[in-house]
Symmetry: C2
Subunit: 135 residues, 2 copies
DNA sequence: TTAAGTGCAAAATCTTTGCAAATGT
DNA sequence: ACATTTGCAAAGATTTTGCACTTAA
């Protein structure tokens, strides 16, 4: 489905900024930090980016994950439930700061005490990615 | 082992602030946010708290985990490897913001692509804790 | 005594809010 | 036309840095 159609289908107005950002996220295919996105969309205001990301997350077109480096990463996901964040683990490279989706590594079940209710699970693995390993 | 002895054993100077904060963390037994700690140690400067936590983490007397609410939690752990953060999952209550150690839920093994190297793994589960469930 | 740690003030970041102008439907 | 969205400026919040003073060894 095309970007503008996906926006429309989610009851979001089709604006330049939203198309731009959703396209960037989709092209990247892995979680991106606010700053990374901003670098690729320098014509868009910082504040606008915050708000666009909010609206995309609210519309479930984008999902956010957080690494131990303290920054949120935003990841576009198709609705097939197979891509991000479909219950898989994420890897954060401590050198280049890039985050990867480990789509084949599903998050397992965990036993919780008493009457705890689960709304979300997140697995984050830290280390060095392939590329950084060779430098 | 006593707090001051543990500091000394880690080559850290035994200061009022460090004893105070390590004691607070140990008494709590679960991950605490910067603000939570500050509330219990109001005589200690914000900045000092940042620095003390840094030194404790560097000395491996304290470990930090991060929730999807964007704030770091610090958790003291005994060296028996059984308590926080000994490779177990964490639960963050979305209502009260409290984090719990799920000490009996070990983090399983995950398969990584190619030459990725792992230095750390973190599992975070979100939802409602027992107490908040009843309110 | 002297190297490390602390507290205060101030800078640097990062995120949110308010409002007028621009844009989508 | 009318409600949303955007961009700018400015407020808030959080974390870091600089530096003189204090404290542990």
């Amino acid at each position: 489905m095309k970007t503008n159609e996906r926006l429309k289908a989610s009851n979001l107005r089709v604006t330049k900024a939203r198309i731009r950002i959703l396209d960037i996220l989709e092209a990247r295919g892995m979680p991106m930090a606010h700053t990374e996105i901003l670098n690729l969309a320098q014509d868009i205001d910082r504040v606008t980016l915050y708000r666009v990301l909010d609206s995309l997350v609210a519309a479930s077109l984008v999902h956010k994950v957080q690494g131990t480096d303290g920054t949120w990463r935003f990841c576009a996901h198709e609705d097939d439930g197979q891509t991000c964040p479909g219950g898989h683990a994420h890897f954060l490279c401590e050198k280049c700061g890039q985050m990867f989706c480990l789509t084949d590594q599903k998050i397992p079940h965990f036993e919780l005490p008493n009457a705890f209710t689960v709304s979300h699970k997140q697995v984050l693995i830290l280390g060095l990615c392939d590329a950084c390993h060779h430098t």
